[in-house]
Symmetry: C2
Subunit: 101 residues, 2 copies
């Protein structure tokens, strides 16, 4: 296992009118997670990166944290610190955002 | 856990001259994995998708299989069926391609 936590954030954009996570929102989340991880000196233990469609389009912006496979939906920039502190560092998923998969 | 196996395949391309996985090679692998999974009727249990840089640029084309977090390097189209049959279906990693992470 290269990383204790590996976060994949959807940056997929569908054609106009269809629900999706969206590149702009996704990339903003990617950058926010990367900043949080780097600012805490965790970059050798954890990684956050963009990914293609996670098949959770109706719940975007969506991401998944492995190795647990915990899916999150409707993630906003203001949620990033909480997910890092609770889930990535303390293994406590942020339940209000967890998708029922 | 939405999927029993979730395969993330790097499609990142770096500037000319730097080692990387590459969009063209990555997308060909994504399509090959998607085809194998769909042709076996496994698409509700497994997913393969493109992703950004997995930080294994020197060993590309690279991918990672979760929840195990097994990294593979130098993956060719001719390896896809073997990875699906051995690893995804039988939990036996294809050792000759596994990266030492």
């Amino acid at each position: 296992m290269k990383y204790k936590k590996h976060v994949f954030i959807c940056t997929n954009t569908k054609e106009a009118g269809k629900k999706c996570c969206g590149e702009e929102r996704g990339m903003a989340l990617v950058q926010a997670f990367k900043d949080e991880i780097r600012n805490r000196g965790l970059q050798t233990q954890m990684r956050a990166q963009k990914t293609g469609c996670l098949d959770a389009c109706n719940f975007g912006p969506a991401l998944v944290v492995y190795p647990e496979g915990t899916y999150y939906g409707n993630v906003q920039l203001s949620d990033v610190t909480e997910i890092v502190e609770k889930h990535l560092l303390s293994n406590e998923p942020v339940k209000r955002l967890v998708l029922p998969y």
